[in-house]
């Protein structure tokens, strides 16, 4: 179970108070009518879905009910930071150190177990 730090409540709370809402920082096109089918489809449906550092939108559904962002690792599930709407992440896939990559391979080895 995650312990998630809500950047508005400024407290650690249990995962069940929150709902994940998918990838963060997807800006709605300013003029949807001017979008091509390609651009509109990309906006609606296509996602990065990375194996690694992921920025995602969450809502503190049964708390303050505010939306905020989490940077989380999708293999180790480690929460790297939480930040308010409108802010930019300080930790990104490019900025993470080899230390994190090491922890990822350890997590992968644990979950995938023996090889054939």
């Amino acid at each position: 179970m995650f312990q998630i730090y809500c950047p508005y409540c400024e407290e650690l709370r249990e995962e069940e108070e929150f709902h994940p809402k998918g990838e963060a920082h997807i800006a709605r096109p300013l003029d949807p009518e001017a979008c091509s089918d390609e651009e509109w489809g990309d906006y609606l449906f296509f996602r990065d879905n990375p194996r690694g550092v992921h920025h995602e939108l969450w809502v503190h559904a049964v708390g303050c009910r505010k939306f905020f962002n989490i940077t989380r690792h999708t293999v180790s599930y480690e929460i790297l930071e939480t930040y308010r709407m409108g802010e930019q992440p300080t930790i990104t896939a490019e900025s993470v150190s080899g230390d994190l990559a090491g922890r990822e391979s350890a997590a992968t080895a644990r979950q995938e177990g023996v090889r054939a």
Binding site: E23, D42, Q111
Partner: protein, 416 residues
Amino acid sequence: MQRYSGFGLVKHALSHHENWQRQWRNPAPKKQYDVIIVGGGGHGLATAYYLAKEHGVKNIAVLEKGWLGGGNTARNTTIVRSNYLWDEAAALYEHAMKLWEGLSQDINYNVMFSQRGVLNLGHTLQDMRDIQRRVNANRLNGIDGEVLDAKGVQEIVPILDCSKRARYPVLGASWQPRAGVARHDAVAWGYARAADALGVDLLQNTEVTGFKIRDGRVFGVHTNRGDIEAKTVGCVTAGNSGVLAKMAGFRLPLESHPLQALVSEPLKPILDTVVMSNHVHGYISQSDKGDLVIGAGIDGYNGYGQRGSYPTVEHTLQAIVEMFPIFSRVRMNRQWGGIVDTCPDACPILSKTPVKGLFFNCGWGTGGFKATPGSGHVFAASLAKGEMHPLAAPFSIDRFHTGALVDEHGAAGVAH
């Protein structure tokens, strides 16, 4: 390939079962193949088998980063059904159902396909209207189905709480008698053995680390065991499809989520069918070994860790106990997760890609196992011809730009 039969069993008994042939070879990778299948799960192995058997392709490799059938093929709850709403999806899943019905004979491997029927329960008036609509659509498509009222459901599953006292009373169900379960490991092993017998190289511990692409055309893959060339590459990698697409330089409309399942301690036979409920959200059957096999919802967040979260287990078991108060003191034995690649319209992607010669078969989300033979069959035909099979054509990636989605959230069985 040594054929399996009752007579063979008796013959091998005379030598104390010590001389059974290995089920498949463990070959070294060749430099070059006609077709490479990335992913040695059920769908990938079925694709290789039908390519070799029906399309005469001689030189095929299946590349698997771990061991055969070690991913979602062996992590699902083994339910097989074809009662999907829309014509496109119903045709694809029913194609698979027809192949299931002759599969054990076809691949000479007992996949323990048991057509014990599947109930999809309705708990609200709207559920019942949707069930009626779906069953009518199924029957127009030649798929068996009946709408049952609560009394009819109770007759099939006496232990289900169909009383009016329940928090979410059972009002009825859709019933597909031809649906059922199959032994998932046997499906992977059976396809692997049959494909190997037709000369397919099954390369385990062989992880694809990149694609060789020139002028927008694929001509091979990089792996941890060296480069392998092929003009046609089919990716059947479920939860990791997004990672492979990124290697090839494009994105997919997929999100990978953990989906978990759990089994109880073995019990004496008590449940001889499959019960699913979208509304309280759980599904359950009993394996031949006696364990209750219970399916859960996906974790809402993206994840590649093959484990599920405890809140999801708790919600699922609440649903099961709501439906079956008799199971309230059954102890759970094991719990695990698989990574499902969910698609926005809850339908798969069987498609060409922006890279010529590179095909993807992915996006099966929470319900790929039931489609294994059909998926492999139509994907093999598509790889052989270079054009998508008519049953696969509606499931192109293009639909996310044209808007021609096939919305199967209602029939997919798991809320996303």
